[in-house]
């Protein structure tokens, strides 16, 4: 895994609460068996008209959004389905972080496993950012700080293990595989309640 480094970016403001994963990537695009091509389908039903043409007034279609790496979203971002296609699509569009006042649990976990950083901020910071949505902010994961356009650095919470994995480029599956002896001894002490192969 590549290491998550400090970066600066302008924001893409998307002031909608409860953006669910069906909006982030509609279910009909989940029939794919690969991870490719999802960036173009991000927010598809909001982003394109019935003929499949980009809607010029939708925020992701604005030229300045194409180079931005941070989505500034409303409350409870990523609720609904467990589809990991949601963070895959956000990453493929070019996002490296999403800022919100809260995230749905599964989305948060899926994002961290793909180096998409969910940044949870208090309401006043959230409001300050929406007050100056075209400004640039700085994300420093190692320090767990978001530097606002005013120059004020605010701390954000991240699971310490997830931060360690992202900053050091550690792969979680590799970490679990190293614990094979513990897994084997657990299995020896706990007979399985079922056998699906029987």
């Amino acid at each position: 895994m590549t290491k998550f480094t400090t970066f600066e970016s302008r924001l893409v403001p998307f002031p909608i609460d409860n953006l669910d994963t069906d909006q982030i990537i509609p279910a009909r695009f989940l029939k794919t068996i690969s991870k490719e091509g999802l960036g173009d389908q991000l927010f598809y039903d909001w982003r394109y008209d019935t003929e499949g043409r980009p809607k010029p007034d939708f925020v992701l279609n604005k030229p300045e959004s194409r180079t931005a790496q941070i989505l500034l979203a409303g409350d409870n971002f990523g609720c609904g389905s467990s589809r990991e296609h949601a963070p895959w699509a956000l990453l493929q569009y070019g996002f490296r972080a999403v800022i919100s006042t809260s995230f749905a649990d599964i989305f948060r976990g899926n994002s961290l496993k793909n180096s998409l950083l969910p940044i949870e901020v208090p309401r006043d910071v959230h409001a300050e950012l929406f007050g100056n949505p075209n400004a640039t902010v700085k994300v420093d994961l190692a320090a767990q700080t978001l530097t606002l356009p005013s120059g004020r650095a605010v701390e954000f919470p991240v699971d310490p293990f997830a931060r360690h994995c992202l900053v050091e480029g550690i792969d979680e599956l590799g970490y679990i595989l190293q614990q094979e002896p513990a897994i084997a001894s657990f299995e020896a002490a706990h007979p399985a309640p079922i056998n699906t192969a029987a």
């Binding site: 002031p15 609460d17 409860n18 989940l30 039903d45 897994i183």
Partner: protein, 468 residues
């Protein structure tokens, strides 16, 4: 010993290791797999040269991209066909039992585990699907995971997890006629909102929950995720044991007795503390229905659609306005009497045999309103066979409803079953997000009773007016 909740007991029983600075490594007793969220995980295994650690604790089926047209028809959608074929090929390659399209055990992943007796009290269960919370009805810790974690479990049978907060949902009192498990859960979500359970696992308890059948408990637990909770469970009792007993994968003989002894130790200890709690009086509930574009936007069926001008928080007000625009509904007006184009009876929330019996009870001897398209989609092939043995299929057909093959169908609209833009449906499924049932489609979530009643009248209907 400190009194513990059932959630903490199951957690403690499955800790493989706890290292400082890292989440606990949690053992998973059953991994359910379907075609949509697994192909990239199997690719990950191949890329690393890994095997599936415990194929004997893994079960697969095909449900999401799966057509509900007769099984003798080919899958017309080539992309869907390739995905279904990939699942079967992956299962073959990695030695996993797959209840594929041709299997008599095929069905919605959250329906087949229980009917096979694979889902038992005290277990940890995961699936790359948020509605895995359904299986908590057995007094198990069951939750949805993403594809990366599907790969982790395939490879190691373990997950790195941090404990959730515990949230007690106590529902006491007797449900009135026409009020169901679906109305309990829609009412809870309307009260606490779709983020109200974030970071939590629910334990549903109280006399109303005890009085529910296993299938009804599954309906309640199914929608835990719609309140943002990772999981929701009901402590096992005689109802649970009786349901599991005698099913194909349930223990037998001395193993059964030993299992039940263990299950009786699971319920929450007296004096155990929950991080959060809420009480609901079941006797005050009405049939619930959603009016908006998330499952928290629900009201008692006789209530009025809320008015954005009554809301002070600007983002919340905008959300409601936006939802009403999408739904093309006027604030302050009743939903009762609103025209309906489609009725969908199905999904992991409400496609088990008791749900179909409820719908049939209303539809029997009546006709679907002209112009309403009604789809009844059983949750599994076994449910389908049982319904046909009871003659329910004939009741549905005689009423003018479409009786289909098992799958997720119009709940997620990946398989060709979908609403047309602008259409209104009353659906027994779990999500009313924009476009969930087809681009531009508009969903009212409700119980099978309410759905069947609305099918007959062609408008949103209070089932209590049609009860015998």
């Amino acid at each position: 010993m400190k009194p513990r909740t059932i959630i903490e007991k199951i957690w403690d029983n499955h800790i493989v290791s706890e290292r400082p600075g890292a989440p606990a490594l949690l053992y998973i007793d059953l991994h359910l797999v379907h075609e949509v969220t697994s192909p990239q995980a199997f690719d990950g295994l191949r890329a690393r040269g890994l095997k599936v650690r415990r194929p004997d604790l893994t079960i697969a089926t095909t449900d999401h991209s799966t057509p509900t047209t007769p099984r003798s028809f080919p899958i017309v959608d080539k992309v869907a066909a390739a995905q279904v074929a990939r699942l079967e090929a992956n299962c073959q390659e990695f030695g996993i039992r797959c209840f594929g399209l041709a299997s008599e055990q095929q069905g919605i992943v959250h329906v087949i585990g229980p009917e096979q007796g694979m889902t038992q009290p005290g277990m940890t269960m995961v699936c790359g699907d948020s509605h895995t919370s359904t299986l908590g009805a057995f007094g198990a810790l069951a939750f949805g995971i993403g594809t990366s974690q599907v790969e982790h479990v395939l490879a190691t049978q373990c997950l790195l997890q941090s404990p959730s907060k515990t949230y007690q949902v106590r529902v006491d009192g007797a449900l009135k006629p026409g009020i169901t498990a679906k109305d309990i859960i829609l009412s809870l979500i309307a009260r606490i909102g779709i983020g109200g359970g974030t970071g939590c696992v629910f334990e549903y308890c109280g006399s109303a929950i005890r009085g529910l059948s296993m299938e009804e408990r599954m309906t309640v637990c199914n929608m835990s995720i719609e309140a943002g909770a990772r999981a929701g469970l009901v402590a096992p009792d005689d109802t649970t044991h009786q349901y599991v007993c005698g099913r194909p994968y349930a223990p037998t003989g001395a193993a059964w007795d030993a299992a039940v002894t263990g299950w009786r130790k699971l319920p929450t200890d007296d004096g155990a503390q929950f991080d959060k709690s809420i009480n609901i009086d079941a006797s005050t509930l009405e049939p619930m229905i959603t009016f908006g574009t998330n499952p928290g936007m629900g009201i008692p069926i006789t209530a009025m659609v809320p008015n954005p001008s009554d809301i002070t928080d600007p983002l919340e007000r905008d959300s409601l306005s936006k939802a009403l625009r999408y739904m093309d509904l006027a604030p302050g007006k009743p939903l009762l009497g609103h025209p309906v184009d489609v009725v969908f009876i199905g999904s992991c929330t409400n496609a088990r045999i008791s749900d179909l019996r409820n719908a049939a009870k209303i539809l029997k001897g009546r006709k679907v309103h002209s112009g309403v398209r009604v789809m009844v989609v059983p949750g599994s092939k076994q449910v389908k066979a049982q319904a046909q043995a009871e003659g329910l299929d004939q009741i549905f057909r005689d009423a003018g409803a479409d009786w289909r093959e098992a799958g997720c169908s119009m709940c997620i609209a990946m398989n060709g079953d979908q609403l047309q833009p602008g259409e209104y449906s009353v659906s027994t499924s779990n999500r009313n997000f924009e476009g969930r049932q087809g681009k531009g489609g508009r969903t009212f979530l409700a119980s099978p009773l309410t759905a069947a009643a609305s099918a007959i009248t062609g408008v949103v209907t209070d089932v209590r007016t049609l009860l015998p």
